[in-house]
Symmetry: C2
Subunit: 196 residues, 2 copies
């Protein structure tokens, strides 16, 4: 069936969705009332039409600026550099950070052909040089590519009069030592803190 096969193929292109899951989703939806499918379709079209990158930070926005850039209560002296809008959402859910963001739109990945020109680095330098930023917090992913990207940004912003920090590495809260990988454990040891 062409219609169902097309839907399965589209689902299977989503990250983390294999062929079997795509089929399960398509079979589920096709047995729902038609308005379930059209509502999901409409939500997709609305996102395609209305969501775009924020003109300042590169986060997702439904207007020229994103909700966070328009919020006057955010602290503009703190700039948190992340890879993608998903990271902004994760950090916002954590609720600890009250500064502003800069979304790079990816990470350096030479093997995949992603070089510095593909990231929003010029815009980052302009924001820092524009003044008012006291500290840049590097919050790229704790992966190989994320580390490389953080190092690159660190060098790019060196000697521009801003403090540059990185998120602490260490044991995840609620974790069990047994399940912590060796590199994380080594970081946690190196960065051990005095407690008394």
């Amino acid at each position: 069936m062409a219609a169902l096969d097309d839907l399965v193929a589209e689902f299977a292109r989503l990250p983390g969705i294999g062929r079997k899951t795509a089929q399960r989703l398509a079979f589920h939806l096709v047995q729902q009332p038609g308005e379930r499918l059209t509502r999901l379709a409409q939500a997709l079209v609305t996102v395609a039409e209305q969501v775009r990158p924020c003109g300042t930070c590169g986060n997702l926005a439904e207007a020229e600026l994103c909700d966070l850039c328009r919020d006057p209560r955010r602290d503009g002296t703190l700039l948190c550099v992340v890879e993608d809008p998903a990271a902004v959402a994760v950090l916002e859910r954590a609720g600890e950070f009250r500064g502003r963001y800069h979304v790079l739109g990816g990470r350096l990945d030479p093997l995949q052909g992603v070089g510095p020109e593909a990231l929003r680095l010029d815009a980052l330098v302009r924001r820092v040089e524009g003044g008012g930023v006291r500290e840049v917090i590097l919050a790229t992913n704790p992966s190989m590519e994320g580390e490389v990207t953080a190092t690159y940004v660190q060098q790019l912003l060196a000697n521009r009069g801003v403090r540059i920090t990185r998120l602490a590495r260490g044991l995840p809260v609620g974790g069990d030592l047994e399940y912590v990988d060796g590199v994380t454990l080594a970081h946690a040891l190196t960065a051990r803190q005095d407690v008394g």
Copy 2:
């Protein structure tokens, strides 16, 4: 962001898709070119508009009859009774069965208020009484509700001059005894076969 939140909510309504996965999918899609979203949307709309139950067997169809019911090479003396169209797809992929299907459209589940009247049982009886069917193979899921449904269909079709069989229960091929549950193991023991 309302548009993105709507999309996350729609994804999260899909089976097996939790809040976090829904967010991951939405964040992924929103960063793709707009045509990726509209293509998925179009696939959904096409399915909603074109796919309906087959007038004979209840399988998914893009016309009055499904591809399998229109195929003259299928053996009409064998009728395989399944719960839903997904089961038809699974059996077709296995490639062993060359007969025809009857899709019940669910399983008996009194706790969820699903009684015999919700299933395509009248149509099944009509097909069997119409003649030409030699054997009905009960291929409901090996779950509690599937077993209850199979027993119900078995009693419904008793004394109508057709052979009634069920899929064999036993060890999954490629499995490891260690991971087989006790009930399956008990079935495999009871139904043990002579080999020499």
